[in-house]
Every structure is written in structure tokens, then in C-alpha cells.
Amino acid sequence: MKITFPHLGDAYIAINLLCKEMDVACVIPPLNNMETLEKGSKYSPEEICLPFKLMVGNLMTAIDNGADTVVMVSSAGPCRLGEYGDLLKSILDKNGYYAHWILLDTVHDVGVRELLKRVGSIWGGEKRSRLKLLRAFKGVYKVIKSLESLETEIHRLSAYEVEKGKLKKILYKCKGDVYSSEGIQMAQKIIEKSQKQMTQVEIDKSKDPVKVVLTGEIFSLIEPFSNQYLEDKLMEMGVSFFRRITIGWWLDITLVQPLKRAKAMKKKNAFLNYCVGGYAKDTVEEVIQAKKDHCDGVIQLLPLGCMPEIVAKSIMPDMSEELDIKILTVVFDEMNGEAGYITRIEAFIDMLQRRKKYVLYGY
């Protein structure tokens, strides 16, 4: 059995490690690129959101490359991810891409036993000890968390670099090495090394870069191809930025600390008090937090037609006015010429810089 899965940011790094630990063969689709998108768009309904199209492309290529089992996370909730499974399968089947499908649903929807059964079936029904899986999962979770904290730090720091580009290089080198590492232990060592390298990079503390928070729809945020490598560009532009939403964050809210999450969802704010599906409430809360953290602006990303984020988007003008914070909403679709959207981001950053310079109000 050879499993595969659609791309979601750096998830492939984690899943690859997990499979190595568990001795499961897996086929990782090539990182999202134009070809993935073209393939995906050709076979997907025209109006479905971008993530879906990329997933179609991923899975088709992976099956071509020898995968025979698709593993997908499918969480119930009023958004599309949960309904993706059947449509993906239907489209792949129709076009002759057959595979065995394992949908990982939440415990809430299918019960613990069924979920464990499904997870177990990934190891070909062999009775591997759950303990081993648990240990592997814990290890991988830690790796992902430390990789993300390195990334977060670099996003924040790269704007202060004396020699531009060094930190970015460290980050990508680290990701690449972790991906090809043999196992959890080695991966941890690699990250530690990169962390050390990071602290040695020369920093100019007198700089006062624009500070921005990235928020919005999860896929667009963490899948670099779908936001056309926005983070690289921000680093190049010398913007110090923060993105809370990561694979690790997602693991926390769904698997690691679901109770804490449930509590957080009940928390009220002045703009949106209900979970409308997707992570729209989080998007709104990120803006409030950004204000508290004295950020200069917020960039909200969403794919065209994304339902929950449209709700968030429609509240943005009010938030911007009441909180006095600048917000830019960028809607991605497959036709977005790269140039057009970069100009908008540049103009936004320019505006923030000017605002910072001229409007001196005390904090």
C-alpha cells in the first residue's frame, strides 16, 4: 500500500516524517505549481474554491506516481472541507484515477472506535501498537511546533536584518533538511542548528519596520503557492509580520487541545460572536489582537468564493474604522495575474510606512 494526501502547507514534511517512523510507504505529490493548478482546474467544477482544484491536481499526479490509497482529513462543520471527500473521489473515479479512500473524520462525527479503525487501516490493517503511533505522533508534533516557531521568529526578524535574505535562506534550508531527514531525532537536531544560526545573523535594532498580521482562510495562508509566495515577498519588502495559523495551530485546535478550543470559541468580541464555519471568527479575532499588539496593518487572504471569509470580509470596514487599523483584503483566484496583486500589497505597505512616519500618535 502506498498512501498519498493533498498538500496543505508544510503538512507534507510532518506526514513524511510520520510515515518514516511508522514504515508506511507514501507518495508525496510535487509541491503545488502551475501544472497542478492546470490539471486541477481542468477536471474540477469551475466555481469551486481554489484549494479543491489544487487537491485534484495533487491526487491525480500522486496516483500517476504510484499511490493507491488517499488519506484525507475531513472535518464536519459548515464549510466545504468536510464535503470535499466524496466529490474528489467522484471526479477522480470518473477520470480513471482509482484509489482506496480513507477519510479521517473528527471523533465527534464518527466516534473514537471508527476513527481508530480508519487510522489503523493506514498501516494496512496490521496490528501496530497504538503506543508506537502515539509516540511517533508526539515526536512529529514537536518537530512541527519547533519548525514553526523558527519560522515565526524569522518572519518577525527578517525585516531587521543588516544583510537582507540571510534568514530566509536559513529557513528554507532548514525545511529542506528536515524533509529529507531520516527521523524525528535528526529533524530536531537540524532545527536546533538552524535556531542557532538564526541568532547569529546580524540584526539592526534601530530599524522600525512596518508590522503586519496575516490572517484569513487557512489554506490560502499556509499554502505558499495559493498565495503566490506572499511571505517571501513580505520578507523581501522588509516587512515584519506574524501569522498565527499554521499546521501546528490546526493540530492544537482539532486534536491536541479541543477543549481549550471549545472554550475559546465561546469568547465574545464586539464584531462576530458566532462560529459561522471555517475560521471566520478567528480572522476577526486576529484583527482585534493585531490592534492590541500595536501592529500597523492586517492582510486578509481568501480564495475567490470562500463562504466564511466573505462574512469576515464584510465586517472588515467596520473593524478598520472602529479599531483604527488598516486592513487589506486580497482575494485569490486562479486568474490573478501575479503582478496585479503585488502592486496592491506594495501600495498597502507603502501606505503603512507613510502613515507610520507622519502620523505620530503615542503608544
Binding site: 467544477p45 469551475e46 466555481e47 469551486i48 474554491c49 475531513s74 464536519a76 462543520g77 459548515p78 464549510c79 466545504r80 468536510g82 464535503e83 471527500g85 466524496d86 466529490l87 473521489k89 467522484s90 471526479i91 470518473k94 479512500w101 477519510l103 473524520d105 464584531f271 462576530l272 458566532y274 462560529c275 459561522v276 464555519g277 471555517g278 471566520a280 475567490l304 468564493g305 470562500c306 463562504m307 466564511p308 466573505i310 462574512v311 469576515a312 470580509k313 464584510s314 465586517i315 470596514p317 467596520d318 482575494v331
Partner: protein, 311 residues
């Protein structure tokens, strides 16, 4: 003297505005009975028209779908005229199905669109539990200072009337019958769909809608899926469409959908993939849709049905 009393009543009576869009089409009887029983003075927006659409388009976020824009228009039309604006926040549907995220965030969208913060009723509505519905109505009662027993009596009457109301359409006596798929507001808003049902009739095409296929029959059709669909509109239309094709009682399917509806993008594709070679026409509408385009497509579809019948 009487005149003064009347005037006074006018001044002091509270007016509640009910926007006539989205699921108003489904719950019209319930809403109207409830309000009438309580003698609440309510203002309804008219049927959708050009003015309402234009208002909606100008105050709603531009990437929203047509029904959302229309609802915004209805709300905007009532905005100045009412003390309370009722904007339902449906969180769960009658059989615990989920609904589109835009319904859950509807009050926020509208309030931000029409710039109204005060006097908007936005409590969450869980239609799957009677207790929750009563709770919802009680809260409204409190806002309007109405006694609880009155509210409950009105609720009972409203539920009864709602149950008596036959939902959906099942035409008989036409040359052809098709399954007309889509969400209630797209099916029954004659302005938005350019009087679609009337048009179909004029081509000798009768329609059946999703409401006329029983839940059991729908359930049986969605059983083979890996995962039970949790979206109301998906389950209803996919289940009903598949059932009717299998049942052979229809000659074709017409699905009316609004551009950029995430739920329909799935429903339509799943239906298409599952019914094989079967006449299937998809009509997509938005604020720019022209009537001529729709007419030609219906005509071509009717021709095709005719040819199939002859062979």
C-alpha cells in the same frame, strides 16, 4: 379624541421589519402567523424588484452571491421604516443539517452593509430543537415587551399553520416534467429567476421541486456516499435529484443556482457525475444576468426534450 388615540398608538407602537429574502420563502407562513397572532405591527419588504436589487448590490460585499445581495436590498428598504429589524441567524436546520456560513453571519454582514447597529434582532436560531426555537421567540418577546404565554400561544398556532402549508411544487398535466433543483430563494424569487417557472410552463414543462421528495427517499440516495452530506441544500437537491432520475418520473433536470455559491458547486457536480447521460441544464444567475440568455437556453433545452421524446 379617537384620532388622537390613533396617533398615539402610531407613535408608540413598535414596528418590526421583516426582510423578504432568503428563507423567508420557506417560513413565510410561520413568520406571518406568529406576528399576526401577537398583533405586532410589522412591515414587510415587497417582492424583490430592481430597486431592491440595486440597493442590495450597492451595500453588500461585492463577492457575495445574488441571494445575499437581494437580502441586503430588502433590509435596506426597511431600514428607515422600522424600530426593529429581524435578521435571522440560522445556525442549524430542522434535521440538524448545516447551512451556508453566510446565513450564520448574516446579521453581521447586513448590519455592516446597511450601517445599522441598533434595533436589530440577531439571536441565533437552531431549528433542530423546539426548545431552542421557543427560546429564540421568548427573547424576541422580551425585546418587544410581550408576555410569555402570548408568545407560546402564537408559536403553537404558527407551527400548526406552517405544517399545514404545502411546500414545493409538483406540477401535473404538462407534456414534460423536470426536477427543478435549487435553493428556495432562487426557485421562488420571481424577480431573481426572471419568472423561470412561468417560462417553463409556457414551454409545456412542469416541475417538481425537492420538497416533494420525502426525507426517506433522499436519505436512501445519499447513503452510498463515503460521508453523509451535512449541508441542507446539498442533501435535499442531490438526494431528490438522484431519486427522481432513478424513479424515471422526470424527463430532465434544470438546476437554478447563483454564481459563486460554494454549496451548489458541489451539489451540481455530484449530481452530474452520478446520473450519467441525462438531460441536465444549469442556469446560473447573478445581478448581471440577462433574460434573453436564459430564454434561449430554456428553448434549446425544451427542443432537446422534444427530440428525446420522439425517439
Amino acid at each position: 379624541m379617537n384620532l388622537i388615540l390613533l396617533k398615539l398608538k402610531e407613535v408608540f407602537s413598535i414596528k418590526v421589519g421583516i426582510p423578504g429574502g432568503l428563507l423567508y420563502y420557506r417560513y413565510e407562513t410561520f413568520i406571518n402567523t406568529f406576528l399576526e397572532e401577537l398583533e405586532i405591527e410589522s412591515i414587510f419588504s415587497t417582492e424583490t424588484n430592481k430597486e431592491i436589487l440595486d440597493m442590495g448590490v450597492s451595500c453588500c460585499v461585492n463577492d457575495a452571491c445574488l441571494p445575499m445581495k437581494i437580502f441586503h436590498g430588502h433590509a435596506a428598504a426597511l431600514n428607515e421604516k422600522c424600530d426593529y429589524l429581524l435578521i435571522p441567524r440560522i445556525m442549524k436546520c430542522e434535521n440538524s443539517e448545516s447551512i451556508c456560513p453566510k446565513f450564520c453571519g448574516l446579521p453581521e454582514m447586513v448590519m455592516s452593509g446597511i450601517k445599522r447597529k441598533e434595533g436589530v434582532i440577531t439571536y441565533p436560531l437552531y431549528l433542530n430543537r423546539n426548545k431552542e426555537i421557543k427560546h429564540y421567540l421568548r427573547k424576541i418577546g422580551k425585546d418587544l415587551e410581550i408576555q410569555e404565554n402570548k408568545i407560546m400561544a402564537a408559536y403553537k398556532k404558527a407551527v400548526n399553520n406552517h405544517k399545514l402549508q404545502i411546500q414545493g411544487i409538483k406540477d401535473q398535466g404538462y407534456r414534460f416534467t423536470i426536477f427543478l433543483g435549487g435553493h428556495p430563494y432562487n426557485l421562488y424569487d420571481r424577480f431573481a429567476n426572471m419568472n423561470l417557472i412561468h417560462k417553463l410552463h409556457s414551454y409545456g414543462i412542469g416541475v417538481i421541486t425537492e420538497e416533494r421528495v420525502s426525507d426517506n427517499e433522499k436519505e436512501a440516495e445519499i447513503k452510498p456516499l463515503m460521508k453523509k452530506p451535512y449541508w441542507l441544500f446539498y442533501k435535499n437537491n442531490y438526494g431528490a435529484g438522484k431519486y427522481l432520475v432513478k424513479d424515471q418520473g422526470i424527463d430532465g433536470i434544470i438546476y437554478i443556482s447563483s454564481f459563486s455559491c460554494g454549496i451548489d458547486s458541489i451539489t451540481i457536480e455530484m449530481l452530474k457525475n452520478d446520473i450519467g447521460e441525462f438531460p441536465f441544464l444549469i442556469l446560473k444567475i447573478d445581478e448581471h444576468s440577462g433574460e434573453a440568455g436564459i430564454d434561449t437556453r430554456i428553448e434549446a433545452f425544451a427542443d432537446m426534450l422534444e427530440r428525446r421524446k420522439l425517439h
